[in-house]
Symmetry: C2
């Protein structure tokens, strides 16, 4: 059973560590670099970390909001085994004599406003198949595209998922989902940490969602250790709105075969990206018909629903006729207020979908699940 589980959890990076000898403490994490045996995860989701640091005074592990002391054993190797960890992807650091550093054995992921270590704690296979590479389904591509922004006077980068059939149906046009990362993350997050390509590939193959293009750009809110000069926290990412509306969307519509009517344009985001999504879409309903906020940073309830977003919620009939998908989701173990928003929207007669991910926190497993719930609703 343990071995079967190990096979089923193999994600991209893990493939390369398959050849390493499996340690006694568990299966090497799929997020390790090639051949790295640690960190590894046992069948009860306990993870064991090791670091060779014979000259260090103190080494600790920082994961899931907790710090664990590591102890030095033979050959100057420090180690610790955690209690069972929540399933899903977690950023983590090793703290060497007070300095939070990356684990040399881990791939790195842009999160926490820097390149961070990450570990995938596998879900039970039957729950997790929606974000696993399936060799029996056609695979789309994730394209790195670079374009010049006049507003920033610099190049920018976005990632564009194209479905497998994009190559073989050269006269077909596709709807577009703009999908945003959270604060301290960047345009790589949804593909690398979020497994969006597998989620899309699997849903498209089974007919659960329609074939679509997904665009992931940098929301200008990837720094958390201080805003840009002159920017307050509330303004993080505000510069992204004009870039997206006046530069990114035109670039995408010029470069790819996409449908450009509002019914074929969606936007969703996680955490701060959910905040950006609401800011951009609710003030531009002529452009977007499908909206998703996953653990969205939500401030607008403070002044009352009627004052939010230029009064967009004041006419429920008008809103409901325009917005085809209005989705809110969050993890049951986090406190990001999507449930309160849902309650207020219901009272105001605003049609929407509310989803709660059982047992998950403000982390990527919540957002993989949210995306999995959101995709079947849009463009239909």
């Amino acid at each position: 059973m343990k071995y079967l589980l190990a096979i089923s959890i193999m994600a991209f990076v893990g493939v390369r560590s398959m050849n390493a000898t499996v340690p006694a403490e568990g299966i090497p994490a799929s997020t390790n670099i090639p051949e790295a045996r640690y960190p590894c995860v046992d069948s009860d989701s306990r993870a064991t970390f090791k670091l060779h640091a014979p000259d260090a005074k103190e080494v600790r592990l920082d994961i899931c909001g907790k710090k664990y002391d590591m102890s030095m054993g033979e050959g100057g190797v420090w180690s610790v085994t955690t209690p069972p960890l929540v399933e899903g992807f977690h950023y983590y650091f090793l703290i060497v004599d007070g300095v939070a550093v990356n684990d040399p054995a881990s791939e790195t992921f842009y999160g926490c406003g820097r390149m961070s270590s990450g570990i995938e704690i596998p879900e039970k296979a039957d729950q997790a198949s929606y974000y696993k590479f399936d060799k029996s389904v056609p695979h789309g591509q994730v394209r790195e595209c670079r374009y010049f922004s006049e507003k920033e006077n610099s190049q920018r980068r976005c990632f564009v998922y194209t479905p497998a059939e994009y190559e073989t149906s050269p006269s077909k046009s596709y709807p577009v989902l703009y999908l945003q990362h959270g604060m301290g993350e960047d345009e790589r997050g949804w593909h690398t940490q979020g497994r969006m390509a597998d989620i899309l590939d699997n849903q498209i193959a089974s007919g659960k969602c329609v074939p679509m293009i997904v665009v992931m750009d940098y929301g200008n809110c990837g720094y958390i250790h201080g805003a840009r000069p002159g920017e307050s926290r509330d303004e993080f990412g505000a510069s992204f709105t004009p870039i997206m509306l006046e530069e990114l969307i035109p670039y995408i519509e010029k470069t790819f075969r996409v449908k450009s009517d509002r019914d074929s344009r969606a936007m969703a985001g996680l955490s701060w990206g959910g905040h950006e999504t609401l800011e951009i879409t609710l003030r531009n309903l002529d452009l977007f018909a499908h909206i998703g906020s996953f653990s969205g940073a939500l401030f607008f309830l403070g002044n009352g629903l009627d004052k939010a977003y230029d009064g967009v919620f004041n006419s429920a009939d008008d809103f409901n006729s325009k917005v085809k998908t209005f989705f809110f989701g969050m993890g049951s173990e986090e406190n990001f207020g999507s449930d309160k928003i849902s309650g207020a929207l219901k009272k105001a007669g605003i049609n929407h979908t509310y989803y709660e991910s059982e047992g998950t926190h403000h982390e990527w497993l919540t957002w993989r699940r949210c995306l999995n719930e959101f995709l079947p609703l849009i463009f239909k």
Copy 2:
């Protein structure tokens, strides 16, 4: 002048650090994460590194084969300024109480068999423009493609550069260059560290090289801290040959609009990837007409040229009629033997091109330059 230089050196990541206040010691490196002011580089190529580590006993910098002691200043911040560094891209580590770790201020790059910090020391603008993003030229895409390998019973990933016109010329087919990374690196290297997309974009726009597709896959030699179980050093990457010939090439030719005759197929690689290139192409000249080895790991001279690669060099006329491009390059400051190979080939009457990159070591600037020299020769 310093400011102009700073603008001209702005690569992708650097764009984001533009908004940070510029430190007194120089311009933030283009390889920094968003907003990071250090490391920075002055106009004489001296780099200043800083790390906040109030509780560490000793912090050192490890770059370009040398270690520099860092000294602790105010607020527990350690710093050091190096002597002038060689231009180009360098991997580096900070050593905190004996542990080599990534600089939290740096992007990370797969090299040295792990995720590493990296710093770009800018060349003078007039030399370096060939690998700089130019807003006035059309830009290709770098596509992440995942395919299933029956031989490894797992998914694999390759990156595929498609030229800008690939989108707009839907009936045109393209020649293909297979381009390999070095040992301890992976399929990300040529794009991220090697700037291959900019080199291709710029050459295609100016007509210096023909529009082509470039495929970058993992050469199965990205680990250096020990081979795979049962593999000796000489065998590193040997498993890649059948994967490339029987799985990767068919996948590419099925997925993209490519020409599949031997005159339209090239392979090149750096260091160990050069070794792999010679191993694969020289034993399969029915498949490849263009061959490049950049600082290639070259062992075959030991037993004499006549015994190398099943005697492929024994008939110069035959070889010269089959191989349209045979390119060797290396840096003037490294000792990888391409010059000796060139001498032996010349003696044997084997047509080839030999290029030496002035002042550079076994590093990415050598390989950017090699690629820049190689591209105009192929598919013509």
